[in-house]
Amino acid sequence: MLNHGLENREYVKLPEGVDIAITPAGVVSRSYAYIIDFLFRSLIMFVVSLVFSLLGDAGQGIILIIYFITSWGYNIFFEMKNGQTPGKKRLKIRVVQDNGLPASFSQIVVRNLLRPADMLPIGYFLGLVVMMFNSRFKRIGDWAAGTMVIYDDEVEARPELPKGNIEIPVLSLSTEEQLAVLAFAERSDELSDARRSELAAILAEPFKLETSEAQSMLVGYARFYSGQLSNSNEQAQSETVQ
């Protein structure tokens, strides 16, 4: 099994014998998606009440029916197409089965009919507690339906590193270690100078780099690992990369 300490990823075993990595969506992005959906639903209800309240008693009945349909059917209707409500689409997250495939209709129905249990006692408190106790952030409805909410592929793409010198590592690193170098390069702009050199010193140790050049060399390695290749040194790479 792969070590996934560095990234918040889950590995799903396929019948083909490999694991694929997916990134479960956490509490914050799902809450944002919920708020967007909530506002959207409120808007629908507001417009509906405005129009049908002109119709007297019959209008009241129609308002209640539409209110019933939007409060229970909104999520089912949108999620059964591709697992995304408008809010989830905005946050680039979607509902999938436990094995990463698109969720089926019955699963969507179960996860949404069980919402009242997650809402107990107030404001999705129980759902939040359950979500925080498992690494896939499944609420009660997700457990019963066998679904989870994950990030779309586009979000998972790594940020592009700025162009610059490409350094070819002298050692061959494991994927996990390569990942650490990449993550260092991607985040180095956000770190303070002191923290950056501290981290660089740790990473540079196996390469036996001078402290002064460690940072720029590591970013150069990261460019190499991220696949920034220039034709001139392609030959050299095929010698060094193992």
Binding site: L14, V18, Q237
Partner: protein, 316 residues
């Protein structure tokens, strides 16, 4: 093999594979697609075990995801499934959940009977269970003198009540289903509360001699409504019980199994409640001779009980 060599020798087939994954769902795939998919899975395993760069692994990982989605496309089923559920899955689920259903039926009717007898013997007891204003409101509703039934009710009011019944009753049924997940507590509470309420009110109505308007009103839609509420409660309890007693499965797996088993029940209860709301709004308040109402109501009860029996006994 070096990484660049690996990429060079495979990139063409990866591109080809990606293009196939992006075909529209309606187009059929070539017969060699599964082979290609397995090849890409293999490539992913190779890239991982040889510790190639994370970016490359990520790319192949995504290819596998695309391929998996395309190959195991879920049926484009959706709403037409509801009919299938009502016709075959619902009766089968009645059979599969017959024990839980039996317990819920007994609990509902047992407690309703206890409440009924209690209030019959001690008419004042109704005020300890229900507030005075509630009792007055109900008395007024079924008063033979100026009752809701005899008053001419317009189509607009019928529609309004239809909305109320849909929103209220089905909302309660869904909440019972969800509440059942909490170790059956949510479902059982609503079920027992409703059964006691129903029993006490029925007895009180008999005590004050308003049974004519009351029973002729509730008999027809009651067949579908009460049975559906019990079924919804049983569906919720089935899931809650799986958490309490998962048997030799993990709780995560047991709850998933139970939810799939109970889902047709809640869909069936939903359809029954829509029908009940329709009857309650458009048929029950009509000012027709009680004999006709009792015979139609009895026919509905006979139908519901017959289907319930057939479902629980034979799954048909």
């Amino acid at each position: 093999m070096k990484q660049t060599q690996f990429v060079k020798s495979n990139s063409q087939s990866w591109n080809e594979f990606k293009a196939l994954c992006e075909l529209a769902e309606s187009e059929s795939l070539p017969v060699y697609f599964p082979n290609m998919y397995r090849k890409v899975c293999n490539d992913l395993a190779i890239a991982r075990s040889r510790q190639y760069s994370p970016v490359l692994i990520e790319q192949i990982n995504r290819l596998v995801q695309y391929g998996q989605k395309r190959l195991y496309l879920s049926r484009s089923n959706q709403f037409s499934e509801i009919w299938h559920v009502a016709r075959t899955a619902f009766p089968r689920a009645l059979y599969e959940n017959r024990i839980m259903l039996g317990i819920n039926l007994l609990a509902f009717w047992g407690l309703a009977l206890i409440a009924f007898i209690w209030v019959m013997l001690d008419p004042d007891a109704v005020y300890t269970f229900l507030g005075q204003s509630t009792v007055l409101q109900i008395e007024e509703m079924y008063n033979p003198g100026g009752s809701v039934q005899t008053a001419e009710r317009g189509a607009a009011q019928d529609l309004m009540m239809f909305g109320v019944y849909i929103y209220n009753n089905i909302g309660i049924a869904f909440q019972m289903f969800a509440g059942g997940v909490l170790f059956c507590v949510g479902a059982a509470f609503f079920l027992l509360f409703n059964s006691f309420y129903f029993g006490a009110i029925a007895a009180h109505i008999v005590n004050i001699g308003f049974e004519g308007p009351f029973f002729s009103f509730v008999i027809t839609h009651g067949s579908f409504e009460l049975t559906a509420i019990i079924i919804a409660s049983a569906a919720g309890c089935q899931i809650g019980y799986a958490l309490l007693n998962p048997g030799h499965f993990t709780r995560g797996y047991a709850i998933k199994q139970a939810a799939q088993k109970a889902l047709p029940l809640i869909v069936g209860a939903f359809l029954m409640l829509v029908l009940a709301a329709f009857i309650e709004a458009f048929w029950s308040p009509r000012d027709i001779a009680n004999e006709i109402k009792y015979s139609v109501g009895s026919a509905c009860w006979a139908f519901v009980l017959y289907r319930l029996y057939k479902g629980m006994r034979y799954g048909a």
